[in-house]
Every structure is written in C-alpha cells, then in structure tokens.
C-alpha cells in the first residue's frame, strides 16, 4: 500500500510529510507529489536527508496534469493509495473565497481517505 503526500516546501507541507512518516506502516511507500505550481520538484536524496524515516521508501511523482489538485488525485488513483496527506494553513473564510483552494478540491474529489494536518502553532 502507499501513502500520497501533497507536498509544498512550506511549514504545512513539511507537517504533512512528518504526518505521513508517523502514519505509514512498516515498509510502506510514501509518494511525494509536488502540489504547488512552478515550485522546484524535491529530489529523493533531499527528502531522505530531511526525514530520515523516509530513507529507502520515498518516491517523487509529478503526474501528467497541470492542475496540482488534479495531479494529487490522479496519482493517488493510479497507485491505489491508502491515504492522502495534505497540509493546511490557517485561512479566514474571506481569504478562501478569494483564493480558491487546492486542499478543498483534494478533499472533495479524493476517492480514498484524506488526512489533513496543520503545522504546530508556533511554526506559522
């Protein structure tokens, strides 16, 4: 089984990876999907250096689609993932209204359970 992480190089994104590490079972693959358009794709070595628990069982998948939320869903469906982990940041309802939300679209469209985590309060 696999766990898919909607990754971003931000505190919520890091929190998501950390949550995926603790959630994953022994030997389970963790697939990192970059979920911010135009951001640099992290490489496996870098991720294993940041989260030693991931070493040897982390993969990076970019998907074939332009929209980040569609990409996350697509990868999770292709790999038949057990769980999607994504990081949320604090937002007011008005901010949500104006900016739209990748997270919301993942939550609504996902065909497997989704774990939404927030970074520790001090980190934001």
């Amino acid at each position: 089984m696999t766990i898919v992480v909607a990754y971003a190089d931000t505190p919520p994104g890091h929190a998501a990876v950390a949550a995926a590490v603790t959630e994953s079972r022994e030997g389970e693959t963790v697939v990192i999907v970059p979920a911010v358009r135009g951001e640099r794709v992290p490489d496996v070595g870098e991720l294993a250096a940041g989260w030693p628990g991931l070493a040897g069982r982390v993969e990076v998948e970019r998907g074939d689609l332009g929209d980040p939320s569609d990409t996350v869903i697509q990868v999770s469906q292709r790999l038949d993932a057990r769980l999607i982990v994504l990081g949320l940041r604090t937002r007011t309802p008005v901010g949500k209204l104006v900016f739209g939300s990748t997270a919301q679209r993942i939550l609504l469209d996902a065909t497997c359970p989704v774990l939404a985590v927030k970074p520790a309060v001090a980190a934001t």
Partner: protein, 687 residues
C-alpha cells in the same frame, strides 16, 4: 432573419463560391498538417490570394480554411507527438499516448469527430449571437463603440498569457504603430517623417505577416528536427466513433468553453483548449488515465479548438473588435472591401454574416470527412522540415504584402516588423494585443472625436452602456491583481485554475526563451525609448491630432517603465541567487551540491540553444533582406529563382535535385499567378 439565412445558403450553391470554399478547406487542412502553422498562418497565407476577389468568395475561402485548421493539426500531434499548432499540444497529451498503444485510429477518429462537432456548435453559437446581439449592437452610439475599442485592447493585454505589463506594453506599441499616417480628424501627417509612403499608414497585411508570419519562419527554420518515427496508423475507426457518442456531454462542454474563450479578445485557441482540458480533468471522477490516453482528454479540447475560431468571429463582426489574431486579419480584409464591421454589418451585410456561418459549418463537416479519407497519405506531410517550406512561404507572404499597396516599402516594413516580432516572441511578449491595438488605433480615435463633438462635455460618460463597459474594464484589472496575490502567496492550498500557464512552455521552443536575459531588458528599454520619442515628436502636432498619440505615448512610457524596472529587479535577484549558490556549493548539504551540479549544465545547454536560435533568426532575416535587394534589382521572379535554390542548399541543406525542382515549381507558380488571379509581381530596376 431566417430568409436571410436561407438566401445565404442558396448563394452557396453558386459553383464559384463552392470551389473557393473547397480550396479553402483543402488549404486549411494542409496548413494544419504542417507543424508550426495554425489559424494565423492559414489566414496569412491565403489572405493575399483573396485580394482582387469579391468579398463573398474571399470570405468563403478564408472561413473554410480557418474552420478546418484545427481539425488536421491533430494528425501530427497524435502520430508524431509534435503538434501541428500550439493548441494541438493539448490533444498530444492523451492522443499520442493512445497512438503509442496501437490505437492511433481510435484517437484520430475521436479528434476528427469532436472537431467537426466543435465547428458545428461554434457555427450555431455564431448564428445565435446575431439575433441576440442585434438589438444591443444597434443601440450603440459612438461613446459605446469608443469604450469597446478600449476594452478590446485592454482585455487582449490582460488576458493573453504571461505578464500583464508585457501585454499592456505590446498593446500600446500596437496602438502607436496604428497611429502612423494621416490623422482622421485633422488630416495632418503623424510620425511619417516627411515620407509620402508612411503618410498612408502602415498596411495591416504587412504588420500581420511581419509580426506573425516572418517571425514564425525565422524561429522555425532552425528548429530541431523531429527525429522520432511516426506511430503506425493502427486500430479501427469504428471503436473511436462509437466511443465518441458516449462522450457527447464533453463535446458540448468543450465547444461552449471554446466559444467563450473565442469571444474574449486575446484568449485564443491555445488557452481555450487548455481550459477545456482542465475542466474535463476537474469534472472527471476517475482521473487515472488522463495523460496516458483518456478519450475525454481528446474529445473536449478538440471540440474547443474548433469552436474558438467561431467564437472569435462573434465580436469581430458584431462589434468590430477582433477576438484573436486570425480574426484581426479578417477584419483588415473586410475593411479593404469597404465593409465596416460593427453595427453596420448587421443592417447592411446580414447575408454576408450568414454566408460565413454556413461556410463555417459546411467546412467543418467536409474537413472532418476529408481527414478520415486522407489521413494515411497526408500524414507524410508532417515530416517535411520547416526549413524546406521556409523560402516558399517567404515568397508567398512577401508577395501578399505587396498586393495591398503595390509598394516595395511595405516589404521592408514587413521585414523590420518581422525582426520586432521575433524579439517580442522570444522575450515572451504576447503579440496578439500588439496586432489588436494596431487594428483598433484609428477606430478608437475616430469614435472618440465623434463622441466629443456629439455630446457636450463629459455627459457621454453617464450613458448606461459606457458605465457597463467601464465596469468590465475594471474587472480584469482586479482579476490580474488577485492572480498576482495568489502567486505571491504560493502554498499547498493555492488553487490555480488556469491550466495553460505552465504546460504551454514546452509547446514552443522559442516562445519566451529569451525572457530574463539582457535581450528582454533591451526590448523593454527600446519600448521606453520608442514611447519617449513618440511623445517628443507628437509635441509638434496640432491640439486635435495630438491627443491620442500623447495618451498612448504616456501610457506606454508608464507600462514600459514598469516593465524595465521588473526586468532590472529580476536580473538583480537572479544575480544574488547565483552568488548564494556559488558560496553554498562547496560547503553545503548534499542536497545543495546535487542541485548545483545538476542545474549548471542545463543552463549552459539553454544558453547554447538560445544562441543557436538567435543566430538562425539573424541569418534568416539577413536572407530576407538580401531577397528584397534582389527584388529591387531584378524583379520578383528573378529574385525568387536566385534566392530559393541558394537558401535551400545552404540554409536548409536539401539535396540539389530537390532544390532545383522546388525552384522551378515555385517559378512556374509565380509566372502563372498573374494570369490566374489579380496579382501583381513587383518590378525591378533592370526590368
């Protein structure tokens, strides 16, 4: 209403119109097959041929071509993985994967049928738009039309992809170029520098063919060749046809998105197609197969890219505001016939409107049918390298620009604008607002003076139509602000719904390849200097003639100034980042070193490719200049006979036999043209 529609259909029974329509369809299909020429190329190449024809056959031919270009451009995308036009790169995602799984015929039949349906729905949209918009259009006075022209330019600037400031700068540059010539209100010459030739204004065909046509040739001649072998045409047509019927909702949705994208100025086939793909993905429950051969990824976008061209025509004919580049050229063509698009066309030329609708619908069906029949043999055309087509296209395009005014000066202007277009393209400046600005400059000024003299003071501003347009004008500005804010706060949950932004880049190698280099800074500075010069020169005009140039130059100065500042800031930040990396690399963590070693060679390769592109561009433009000199000396035919073999042998490196046959055929065509069509060849000094 309906009588007009059916009498237009009856007029299409006229064999000469049908022949022109058929010629247009075949030409459009062939142009679509050739990678790199889309709807813009189709109109650009056929437009010159129509000079001297009556408006009806001319329109039948151009509309016929425009309607089917996006039907056949799929062939190269599916079989070769090299899109026939930028908008077919979307179909490539799923179509090429499907073809590699041995289902090329399934992919192609899905695409052809969707294209046909898209074209038909587009034609229906165009038909419905006429009665819906008619009362609205007829209620417009000059204040509304003035606002519409402003709206046209600014929407094109804001909505074309990339940086808004770049779009505005390009739009204002186009407006400035459009003001060259005699002022419509005071009959004094502006920016003509005493030249009789410039006092006529610059010909639209020269601008369009230069900025788009020649720039395209120059950037494609050096294109790395497609080395991949085409996928075999396998699988059955039947399965695709059956499957297509089950996806009919996607066809209709795609077509509606296409029409909408077409109506908006500056949003062309490419963006519309990506939008359709995005919505197909977003609304699908099972996204697993997208990008790996999902039929829904072919059906929606293919239907959208045909209906975009019909949508483009709606604002073009009803309001006189071109929705895209091909329709800007059509608008220019109508103007040369003395047909003023806008309210007048609805009252005086309704039959022409319906002729266009019918031509579009018939061409869509015929185009799809021909594609089914001939794909097997026509697919070979997609393998012809662009360098071989270059000289033929060049000769045809230059001949076309000569037809409008019969002056060699137009050709020099065209080559100069070709150079400008090349740099605009390479530095990622959108060229659609440039052309739309150029076309709308004079109408904008005329409507303004009509408004100012018909209404006292600013009372026209309070007209409801004007207020509505002003509101529309503010909306895109707000939208672009929101977009910028979104980009600034990039994080996991920022939903960018615009599909085309990132995926477009790999569709075209040159597009934006010079962005963030000294060249793009140079383009920005050149724009500043141009606007400053225009401001200075316009000081000598009379008050009435001064207003528009002044406003355009001031606005342009501001936009180009901001652009320069952005470029400088980006360069400084880039330099700082480069410095950091150099410090980091020896000592830093494993990640940083890996990054540093991985990035550098790629940068080098990009710089090399950039230099290669620039060299090829420079050589091609030099060749064009040499050709023009030859024309001045020896006339068009002699120049072609000398230039074509030299270019083919040295630039395209073809075999001598090909070069000789090519030259002879081209020469024979040039010799035969004046007797077949009302075309004049430029004469040289020695003739």
């Amino acid at each position: 209403m309906t009588e007009a529609a059916f009498s237009a259909l009856a007029s299409l029974a006229d064999p000469s119109l049908l022949i022109m329509l058929a010629v247009g369809v075949v030409a459009g299909l062939v142009i679509g097959l050739i990678p790199g020429l889309g709807g813009t190329g189709a109109v650009a190449i056929l437009l010159p041929i129509t000079f001297g024809m009556d408006p009806e056959p001319a329109l039948a031919m151009l509309i016929g071509a425009l309607a089917v270009v996006h039907t056949s451009d799929t062939v190269a995308a599916v079989l070769l993985g090299a899109p026939g036009s930028a908008s077919a790169s979307v179909t490539m995602l799923d179509g090429y994967s499907m073809a590699r799984q041995g289902q090329a015929k399934r992919a192609l039949s899905l695409a052809f049928l969707s294209s046909m349906a898209g074209g038909l729905i587009g034609a229906v949209g165009l038909t419905l738009a006429i009665p819906l918009a008619r009362p609205l259009v007829l209620s417009f006075g000059s204040p509304e039309l003035f606002m519409l022209t402003i709206l046209g330019v600014s929407l094109a600037a804001v909505l074309s992809r990339g940086n808004v400031v770049k779009g505005l700068t390009a739009g204002l540059l186009g407006l400035l170029l459009g003001l060259v010539g005699t002022s419509p209100t005071t009959a004094e010459e502006r920016f003509s520098f005493g030249s009789l030739f410039l006092s006529d204004g610059i010909s639209l065909v020269a601008v369009a063919l230069g900025v788009f046509g020649l720039a395209e040739i120059a950037s494609r001649v050096g294109q790395r060749r497609v080395t991949e072998k085409p996928v075999e045409l396998s699988g059955g047509w039947g399965s695709g046809i059956r499957e297509w019927i089950t996806h009919w909702t996607h066809v209709i949705r795609g077509a509606l998105i296409g029409i909408w994208a077409g109506v908006l100025p500056g949003v062309g086939a490419t963006a519309g197609t990506w939008l359709a793909y995005g919505q197909a993905v977003a609304t699908a429950k099972d996204k697993r197969k997208f990008g790996k051969g999902d039929p829904r990824g072919i059906v929606g976008p293919e239907s959208a890219n045909n209906s975009v061209e019909a949508g483009d025509l709606i604002p073009t004919f009803l309001f006189g505001i071109p929705g895209g580049v091909p329709s800007a050229m059509l608008l220019g063509m109508l103007l040369t016939y003395g047909i003023q698009p806008g309210p007048a066309i609805v009252t005086d030329h309704l039959d022409l409107m319906y002729l266009i609708v019918w031509a579009f619908a018939i061409a869509s069906v015929a185009g799809a049918f021909l594609c089914f029949l001939a794909t097997g043999s026509l697919a070979k055309l997609t393998k012809v390298p662009f360098a071989v087509l270059g000289p033929g296209l060049l000769v045809v395009m230059l001949l076309g620009a000569f037809q409008e005014g019969g002056q060699l000066g137009d050709l020099w202007v065209m080559v100069a604008l070709g150079v400008a277009g090349f740099f605009l393209k390479a530095t990622g400046m959108p060229r659609a607002p440039f052309l739309i600005g150029f076309v709308l400059a004079i109408p904008m000024e005329r409507y303004y003076y009509l408004t100012a003299s018909l209404y006292d003071g600013a009372s026209w501003v309070a007209r409801p139509g004007v207020l509505a347009f002003a509101a529309l004008l503010v909306a895109p500005v707000l939208w672009s602000l929101v977009k910028r804010l979104r980009r600034a706060s990039g994080s996991v949950d920022d939903g960018h719904r615009d599909e085309h932004a990132s995926a477009d880049e790999d569709a075209d190698e040159l597009e934006g390849s010079l962005a963030r280099t000294p060249w793009s800074l140079g383009v920005a500075v050149a724009a500043v200097l141009l606007f400053a010069g225009a401001l200075w020169v316009s000081g000598s005009f009379s008050d009435e003639a001064q207003l528009m140039p002044r406003l355009v130059a001031l606005g342009g100065l501001a936009a180009a100034g901001v652009l320069t500042w952005q470029e400088i800031r980006a360069r400084r930040r880039g330099a700082a980042r480069g410095g950091d990396r150099a410090v980091d690399a020896p000592a830093g963590s494993s990640g940083a070193t890996m990054l540093a070693t991985r990035v550098e060679p790629r940068l080098d390769a990009r710089a090399l490719a950039r230099r290669h592109d620039l060299m090829v561009g420079a050589r091609t433009f030099a060749a064009m200049a040499v050709f023009l000199v030859l024309v001045m000396v020896g006339g068009y035919l002699a120049a072609t006979l000398v230039f074509t073999p030299l270019f083919l042998l040295y630039a395209a490196r073809t075999r001598p036999r090909t070069a000789i046959i090519y030259t002879l055929v081209l020469g024979a065509v040039l010799l035969a043209l004046p007797s077949l069509l009302p075309v004049d060849l430029p004469m040289g000094l020695l003739q």
